[in-house]
């Protein structure tokens, strides 16, 4: 077995990297009214997982969310929340599921964004993870900058979502102003013409009324 150990070791390392790839998902999906959407993921024990979610469009911008561990215990539950952030360190290995529910709403479908991160970020090259020596100053500086940039990107995402929400509301307001104004103008014309016609009809001579007056 010792014929070509280094290619095999490299391959093993590469596969290990694949096995521990950052299991994180950032998705935006549409949740129809009276519907529930669940997502599942297989997680190891003792791993830190975090869930960030936000409602972008729809109704009162709120959604129900709950998370269950493999044994069926509810580890997080919130109702009618607009946005929230939740972290948890897993105690059991297995499939964790989290669900978003719009069952309380009968006609507004919502757009929900969530960011589900499992574990820590893996290094970008396989052998970076198992260094025995300490990082040089340059490498430490790179790590610091990387972490700071990640914070910047997260904050940009947050602003982008807020802006999407406000923009959706503004565009909705814009179209509603048009429709309601046109509707009101039409109503104005209809009401005034029918008022005049009705009034005229009171004073127009009708046979039965005329006979009643004379007798």
């Amino acid at each position: 077995m010792g014929r070509a150990p280094s290619p095999a070791a490299a391959l093993l390392l590469l596969l290990l990297l694949r096995a521990e790839r950052l299991r994180g998902a950032e998705l935006t999906f549409e949740l129809p009214d009276s519907a529930r959407q669940c997502f599942h993921e297989e997680v190891e024990q003792g791993v830190r997982l975090s869930l960030d979610y936000q409602v972008i469009t729809g109704g009162h911008y709120d959604v129900d969310c709950y998370m269950e561990d493999p044994l069926g215990n509810i580890i997080y539950r919130e109702t009618k929340k607009q946005y929230d952030s939740f972290t948890y360190r897993t105690e059991v290995k297995g499939v964790y599921q989290f669900c978003f529910s719009n069952e309380f709403s009968t006609f507004s479908h919502k757009t929900v964004y969530f960011d589900f991160q499992v574990g820590d970020e893996p290094p970008i090259l396989p052998d970076m993870g198992n260094k025995v020596t300490a990082l040089t100053q340059m490498e430490s500086a790179c790590v610091t900058i990387h972490e700071a940039l990640k914070t910047v990107i997260d904050s940009q995402t947050h602003y982008r979502l807020r802006e999407a929400q406000d923009r959706a509301r503004a565009e909705d307001l814009n179209s509603r102003v048009s429709y309601w104004s046109i509707g009101e103008t039409i109503a104005l014309f209809v009401v005034s013409f029918s008022q005049v016609l009705l009034l005229k009809s009171f004073f127009t001579e009708k046979r039965p009324a005329h006979r009643a007056v004379h007798s």
């Binding site: 095999a8 549409e30 565009e171």
Partner: protein, 235 residues
């Protein structure tokens, strides 16, 4: 995907000196690696859409894997041959930029040319109801956007970068992503401002118009009724 190719190469070359145990371990690790994405269930005719709001010239890579529920064994079996997923990607102007059918597992890539909300829709191409038998299809999905879509091992190999150079390269990519996002932010803010100004204008002009119409109709009503009553000799 390079890992599978390497594995196939290893298995077909008997002289590499890998023992049976090693091969089994590698196979086990390979299967373990495959089962690690977020998954959800989809019905037979159901279409699941995801929205990605991205700046322009951003690459998006999506990987998916499907599993069909086996009623006899009461578990999800691995990939079913012949069962495919239809992937459709629309740009912010509702123009289709990618519409392709893939097998039971696939990888799709696209680069945005206009900034905005892109919609990625998936639905199964199954026409035989018996295949689903009232069950659901399990879809493992992983979508990577922008800098996360970069494969650093490949970049290091291609450009022959040292570790430090690769770290700096990653920082450069991140900063570029931040810059693109900020440009996009500026463009969006301008659109938002245009919408608000349009609303402001509309409210102003419609209010003035409605007031004028109200006054004009009032005047017309009075005159019309006055002439009507004069004709009736009531006034």
């Amino acid at each position: 995907m390079a890992a599978e190719e390497d594995l196939r190469v290893v298995c077909t070359r008997p002289g590499t000196g890998l023992g049976k145990a090693m091969r089994a371990l590698l196979l086990l690790l390979w299967f373990a690696a495959r089962g690690s994405a977020l998954y959800f269930h989809i019905g037979e005719t159901e279409k699941k859409c995801f929205i990605e709001e991205i700046p322009d010239e951003t690459m998006v890579i999506g990987n998916y894997r499907t599993q069909l529920y086996d009623k006899q064994r009461e578990e999800y079996q691995p990939a079913t041959p012949g069962l495919g997923m239809f992937v459709e990607v629309k740009d912010p102007e509702d123009k289709v930029i990618l519409a392709r059918q893939y097998g039971s597992e696939g990888r799709f890539t696209f680069t945005s040319h206009t900034p905005g909300e892109h919609q990625i829709c998936l639905h199964s191409n199954s026409t035989k109801f018996s295949l689903f038998a009232g069950g659901m299809l399990r879809v493992h999905l992983d979508i990577q956007v922008g800098e996360h879509a970069n494969d650093y091992a490949e970049i290091a190999a291609k450009d022959k970068l040292s570790e430090l150079q690769l770290r700096v390269r990653q920082l450069v990519e991140q900063v570029e992503q931040i810059q693109k996002e900020q440009n996009y932010q500026r463009w969006r803010e301008e659109r938002f401002r245009q919408t608000s100004e349009s609303t402001n204008q509309r409210v102003l002009w419609w209010s003035i118009l409605q007031t004028l119409i109200l006054v004009a109709i009032g005047v017309w009503q009075m005159r019309h009724l006055k002439s009507f009553f004069e004709a009736k000799k009531l006034v």
